[in-house]
């Protein structure tokens, strides 16, 4: 089993110049596979199709989280409506400002263990899978790796494969 066998082919992506407001809407309505709607992250591609970053829900949370809050333990001293106020201000930020720029990705032929290695060591739940020419072919989800693992666990005869 390789990355390309398990990935969900790329359908939607974001552009660096898109505002967070629009990006959040795309994340909410993007299709994941055939029937499910809503994704927790999408790659950011420039006009040539090259991946320049990845925007996930975590990045959107960071957009409303003031930088000074990370310097001290101030969570106890926040108030009702603070997130909503910050969200209004953050809506017009560009995707390029908030996206993760160093994206952990794998090639199509990467082994499943390599994918697990990245997911555990870099703590990512979604891995962009790159085709030969460097274009994003699809996304490999932690959940699909989990299903693959369960399949192998439950298969008494072989302990793996189909």
């Amino acid at each position: 089993m390789k990355a390309k066998d398990l990935m969900v082919p790329l359908q939607e992506y974001l552009k660096p110049g898109t505002t967070l407001k629009e990006a959040a809407n795309i994340l909410r309505t993007a299709k994941r596979g055939e029937e499910k709607v809503g994704v927790k992250g999408l790659p950011v591609l420039d006009e040539t199709g090259k991946m320049v970053g990845f925007l996930s829900i975590g990045d959107i949370l960071k957009a409303v989280f003031p930088s000074y809050m990370s310097l001290m333990n101030l969570g106890d001293f926040t108030w009702d409506g603070m997130v909503e106020d910050m969200a209004k201000k953050a809506g017009n930020k560009k995707v390029s400002e908030m996206m993760t720029q160093k994206v952990i990705s794998v090639t199509e032929d990467a082994s499943l263990m390599e994918c697990v290695d990245h997911m555990l060591k870099s703590n990512v739940k979604r891995l962009p899978v790159l085709a030969k020419e460097g274009k994003v072919a699809g996304i490999l989800y932690e959940r699909d790796v989990f299903f693959e693992i369960t399949k192998a666990m439950l298969d008494e005869n072989t302990g793996g494969g189909k």
Binding site: P66, Y68, L71, M72, N73, L74, D76, F77, W79
Partner: protein
Amino acid sequence: MTHEAAAAAPFVMDTAFWTATTIFLLAYAVIVSEKIHKTIIAIFGAGLMLVLKILEQHEAFHVEEFGIDWNVIFLLISMMVIINLMRPTGVFEYIAIKSAKWGKGDPFRILVIFAIVTAVLSALLDNVTTVLLIVPVTILIADALEVDPLPYLISCVLASNIGGTATLIGDPPNIMIASKAQLDFMDFIYHLAPVVVVIMVFYVFAIKLIWGKKLKTKEELKKRIMAMNENEAIKDPLMLKKSLFVLALVLTGFVFHGVLHFQPATVALFGAGLLLLLSKTHEPHHVLAEVEWPTIFFFMGLFIIVGGVVKVGLIKWMSLQILDLTQGNLFATSMVVMWFSAFASAFIDNIPYVATMNPLIVDMAKQLWPNLSGVQLLHHPDLMPLWWSLALGACLGGNGTAIGASANVIVVGMSEKLGKRISFGKFMLYGMPLMIMTVIISTIYVWLRYYVLKI
């Protein structure tokens, strides 16, 4: 040749002189240009001084006159360790929230209280630590009150540089001066704290003039502040008690270190060791990793670079020039030192500046009183105002520009992340006039106390 002989011998402008001078000037130029990180330059420059045999390794590591001042290094490291252990207890969040509530949610009252709290904390901790512990809370409060955070950012950082001037441990220049001049904690309290209190009074009036009328908020927003419960900040009450015990012990140790004949670093190192032991941590590497090693290595590198130019005689040559300029008039010299230090520290890092000025003043003293040595020389009554002028100029000068002190750089960095960048010009607009005001007050103080009243 022993170092005593080297200090007494007339210097010659030989190859070693020009090599050391070139390394020194180039290193300082690159540090000012900020093209390469200052710590890297300091380490590389120190390495050059050793490789080119300007200094022997033994001199750099073990000779007080030319080498690393371990008293400064261990005082800094130990205080950092103590603060790193205290931080997670939540005590600093507690102090900051308590202060805001004390201001009853009034934006200007809070501004003043924060300035005073910052000044007091800066006198006891280093300035960078203080602004890192206070400024995030001030921005949160400004957000809660829906007022511009800039007055809070600027007034806190200026107050931290003022407060730091008051004590031996408040600001790196004072730590360095204390070690070089063998001055103790109470000397600083006795000579600098009074003028700092006066300066703070003027400073509060100044910020009232600048921001007093601009800061307004709605009544309902004040309730956000009053609803905060500062007791929730305390995450580890037991560790807090231990930390406060050790801090009290260390401060008592500082007060009496002169009488007990302990160096400040001894007191701080003992405190750091004791608190590490009491904390029962099994992972000291976390606490130790958080020590600002780049700053520590910056100091070590600079001490060696300056040691090189002391050895070849550049510093002695500079001291002769100054004495020539002021005709040996020590009042004029101390005024030149104060004002030159203020403007120099406004534009260059005051740490390398003081590292250079310290041996320069010692050399000057040697010219003036060739028969004296040791404490008799360093504490000559006519020399004392010079040390205080250097301390006041170098510490207060840090307020002049956005790059004048490390705390300023940190706060400007924070403002950038907030999307409210404080430009170099904007900082100077507030910092420079306030710096000049504080140096004028210091000038009057030094003149009145040491040359008119002579106390």
